[in-house]
């Protein structure tokens, strides 16, 4: 009888050990959220896209064209924010190692030029049950839109450019697809720090001065030496209008200008002022 009691107690203890140790590990569901999230503090994480003042207010290109944008469509998908540890280093690249991550479902075509010249960054979407903490990395894809104003392209830029009394209406489209991964937001204010019950922003930033250059930056600066400027596009205009995509530009642009454009287009994606790791696909 004593043996049976001892055996029963030992079995019960073993079961207890397995049950307790099982509680110590965390499973990950298909969205990447930890299964124990229900017990964790949560808040609302907002995903925004920002073309900055360059897009909202216009600017003068490195070659003297005053550019104003009507629409800047980017088609975003697989948008994900991470609490990365170790912090993601975009210069090194690779996968993000994250304790928690939040994905934004769906495909979103966003007009970065929407609103007036002082408009806030465009809200792409939000997640209401994000685990509180510091979201110090974000990744997203720019893919060809299946429908809508950017159909067939990952990026569509329309606007007008003026120089010395000449006006050129332009539509520039990019069919290349990109996968951006950035680290911590770099800018005036900290972003991505989510408190329990609070709201925090994670921003995808796009730098269009990389394509056109910036007259406010010295011409010898790497930004301007690497940018094609607007003159190569203006030279293609017929009756004051140019409407081109990358396939057309490959046969129309001078090789040096085409090379600059192909080098600069992938560098559009940032997190504030911080560069992203980018892959074409």
């Amino acid at each position: 009888m004593k043996k049976i009691v001892s055996l029963a107690v030992a079995t019960l203890l073993m079961f207890l050990v397995f049950a307790i140790s099982g509680c110590g590990s965390s499973a990950t569901d298909e969205t990447g959220q930890q299964a124990q999230q229900g017990e964790q503090k949560t808040g609302t994480l907002q995903f925004t896209a920002n073309g900055e003042d360059f897009v909202r207010q216009g600017f003068v290109s490195k070659d003297g064209w005053a550019i104003n944008f009507d629409h800047v469509y980017v088609n975003l998908s697989d948008v994900t924010a991470y609490q990365s540890e170790p912090p993601y280093d975009a210069h090194v690249g690779g996968e993000v190692i994250a304790q928690n991550k939040v994905s934004l479902p769906g495909i979103h075509t966003v007009d970065l030029a929407q609103g007036d010249e002082n408009a806030a960054p465009i809200l792409v979407g939000k997640a209401g049950d994000a685990v509180a903490g510091h979201y110090n990395a974000v990744s997203w894809k720019m893919t060809r839109a299946a429908e809508g104003p950017a159909k067939g392209y990952s990026l569509v830029v329309t606007g007008t450019a003026e120089k010395e009394g000449q006006t050129v209406s332009f539509t520039i489209k990019d069919e290349q697809e990109y996968h951006y991964t950035g680290g911590d937001y770099v800018g005036d204010e900290r972003k991505g720090v989510l408190q329990e019950g609070g709201t925090a922003d994670v921003e995808m930033t796009f730098h269009f001065d990389h394509i056109f250059g910036d007259a406010d930056t010295p011409l010898e600066d790497e930004l301007n030496t690497g940018a094609p400027g607007f003159e190569p596009f203006a030279s293609l205009a017929q009756e004051g209008r140019v409407d081109v995509d990358m396939a057309a530009l490959e046969s129309m642009l001078a090789p040096a200008d085409l090379e600059k454009l192909q080098d600069m287009l992938p560098t559009l994606g940032h997190v504030g002022e911080g560069h992203c790791h980018v892959e074409k696909f």
Binding site: S6, A10, L13, M14, L16, V17, I20, S21, C23, G24, S25, P86, P87, H91, H134, G183, D184, V186, G187, R190, V193, H207, D209, T217, D221, E222, G272, E273, G274, H275
Partner: protein, 148 residues
């Protein structure tokens, strides 16, 4: 005689109190504490320094609010002394003319020890230890009974 001795001792005592005080009035009292400073060096991808870049330092206990701000020197260098009472990852941001970056700086954290954590709570460890001991004692008693 006793009064003279008392007077001498009194004068000597007063002299000992007053004279050194007068001498120390020109001294310099220096204390020191040893603290570890962090030096940041910011460069562009081209190797050019981020001269006079705007620096923002975030402490681990409040990542949303700058702990201090400053400016890098002409070589992109910046030195700060983190508060040792705030161990963890300090984030340092350096920006200039629309471009910048962020670097995490571990302070007062033994990464090896931290990484070697078991992932179990104290309660779990105690219970598991008790079970192991129970098993060892039970096994010992079992063999002890067989010998008897």
């Amino acid at each position: 005689m006793i009064n003279r001795i008392k007077l001498f001792v009194s004068i000597l005592a007063v002299s000992l109190l007053v004279w050194p005080a007068a001498a120390f009035a020109h001294g310099v009292d220096i204390n020191y504490q040893t603290k570890t400073a962090v030096e940041i060096e910011a460069k562009y991808d081209t190797g050019q320094p981020v001269s006079e870049g705007q620096v923002t330092v975030y402490a681990p206990d409040n990542p949303a609010k700058p702990w201090t701000t400053g400016k890098a020197d002409e070589n992109g260098r910046y030195i700060f002394t983190p508060d040792p009472a705030k161990p963890g990852t300090w984030d340092v941001q350096v920006r200039l003319a629309g471009h910048g970056g962020m670097v995490p700086v571990p302070v007062g954290v033994d990464s090896d020890v931290a990484a070697a954590g078991t992932g179990y709570t104290t309660m779990q460890i105690v219970l598991m230890s008790a079970c192991v001991i129970w098993g060892l004692v039970g096994t010992a008693l079992y063999f002890a009974r067989r010998k008897n």
